[in-house]
Symmetry: C2
Subunit: 293 residues, 2 copies
């Protein structure tokens, strides 16, 4: 299957799985379930699910486990967006071209939607078929990537860094946690759905993940500085307006673009040991760097 | 060991385990870890951990697994208090006799503390020794009890019910989710740490859990109406001030006290099949009904 077709099929599969694994809006409490579905369904590029499925391809992982892993990681991502957008955090009104959850509903509901989506991720990952040892390792990995030394920790560093002149190392460390941890988890969850990974395999996938994770952020910063809100589906120019450190403010636009290209090459290199089975991961690195939104 | 001694030993054990399982405040991001420790340590009656250990006693469960289960469930409880106290929810300034997390730190930190404590619960439960199938089932149970058809769902119903005249059934359903689900999870997590439970054992423990869960809430309502803030360590009379439905407002004080006593008897009855091994669970039912704060 060519990359574009695979991507569409996988995104549709993920959307269907998300709809299946978030309680329907006619189940009580209805408003909460409706808001959870509003937050997670019908939007987003599904980069993390794509990484799960692409990495699953490396070792012919079973589809059911990949679906659960993809949905779980996307629920964590969706919950983090809902909480990030709240007034006490980034105070953003627009997300994926729609009003954010606290604008559409209210702040208390947004808080609960995020909380319940996090729980739901662990429900989805711990239910269903599959080897218990593998699934427990997947729960552990996702929880670590989400928590205080993962995504939440990155958010905390981000909060503390507003208005500060971060060094490039500090900026990288912040993003390694804030977005990198969950992207890495996506890749590893996909791969470990297929087999127990060797240390060498984990090391190679870590290099790939670190490169695309950083590239993702560099491109985000480039787009925030150059694209308009309509294209992004969220408020553009927000980082600069909030006086947040970005790669563009640190390195300039040209050097940021060069860095993104270099990171894409690093990601491709890390995949060489996996041969042709890694072609979707290869193409996803290109996609992350070339995306326009 | 007599009940009071056992309780003190178990509370100390739990405090020590919480301190061990929440990253130290010299680990980055320091402020987040300091705030997580502030939220979870040095306070609270530790009712849920006590239930975990008391239920573990039924089947001689190994101490390490009980410690992890107790800490995990207490982290979920602690996170829910941090988020509940936030301005967009109950807007409370006092908890366990100390300023709430958003007052002591700030709202964004409180949001992240809650989020990270939830992740940490699943880290703790999925790490360490023990049978993978059992541990995966424990993760599943805790996630279900925490999510949209558990604790978060109860919060959502609570939010939606402010100012409404709830029937007794509706009030019970709300509390069954809001506090009952996590109390039930505590009992089952403790018991399943010792052995794979039969349907009969689960059914009996469900009856016990439902009775103490409801008793817990009835007593909460009685205390909110009768005790002062200094004794409670949180703002008293808040439910009435917020126009929230309570058992006292629905049944009156005398009938509420009778209901609490009846529920305590129901809980004791449910334990009969477990014989003398259930004595800590028996005494905990008494404690829940007789507590003054």
């Amino acid at each position: 299957m060519d990359f574009r077709t695979w991507m569409k099929v996988t995104q549709d599969n993920c959307e269907e799985a998300l709809s299946e694994f978030i309680p329907q809006s006619d189940i009580a409490p209805r408003r909460l379930h409706e808001a959870m579905r509003y937050a997670a369904l019908d939007g987003g590029k599904r980069v993390r699910p794509l990484l799960v499925f692409a990495a699953g391809q490396l070792f012919n992982a079973p589809d059911e486990l990949l679906r659960r892993a993809a949905v779980a990681v996307e629920m964590i991502h969706a919950y983090s967006l809902v909480h990030d957008d709240m007034p006490c955090m980034d105070d953003d009104a627009l997300r994926r071209g729609k009003p954010t959850v606290h604008v559409k509903y209210d702040e208390a509901t947004a808080l609960l939607v995020g909380d319940a989506l996090q729980s739901q991720a662990f429900i989805v990952l711990s239910e269903g078929n599959g080897d218990a040892l593998t699934k427990l390792a997947m729960v552990r990995l996702l929880a670590q990537a989400s928590g205080s030394v993962g995504m939440c920790g990155g958010q905390a560093i981000d909060l503390a860094s507003v208005g500060l002149a971060l060094s490039r190392d500090q900026l990288e460390q912040m993003h390694r946690l804030k977005t990198g941890a969950l992207l890495r988890a996506s890749v590893l969850l996909g791969a470990m759905s297929g087999k127990t990974l060797t240390a060498t395999e984990v090391a190679a996938l870590n290099v790939y993940s670190a490169a695309i994770g950083l590239a993702f952020q560099v491109v985000d910063d480039i787009l925030d500085a150059t694209a308009d809100s309509a294209t992004l589906g969220k408020t553009a120019g927000k980082d600069a307006a909030d006086n947040k450190p970005t790669y563009v403010s640190l390195l300039g636009l040209t050097a940021s673009k060069e860095l993104a290209t270099q990171l894409c090459n690093d990601a491709h290199q890390a995949l060489v040991p996996f041969g042709t089975q890694a072609h979707y991961l290869h193409d996803l690195a290109d996609l992350i760097v070339q995306r326009q939104a």
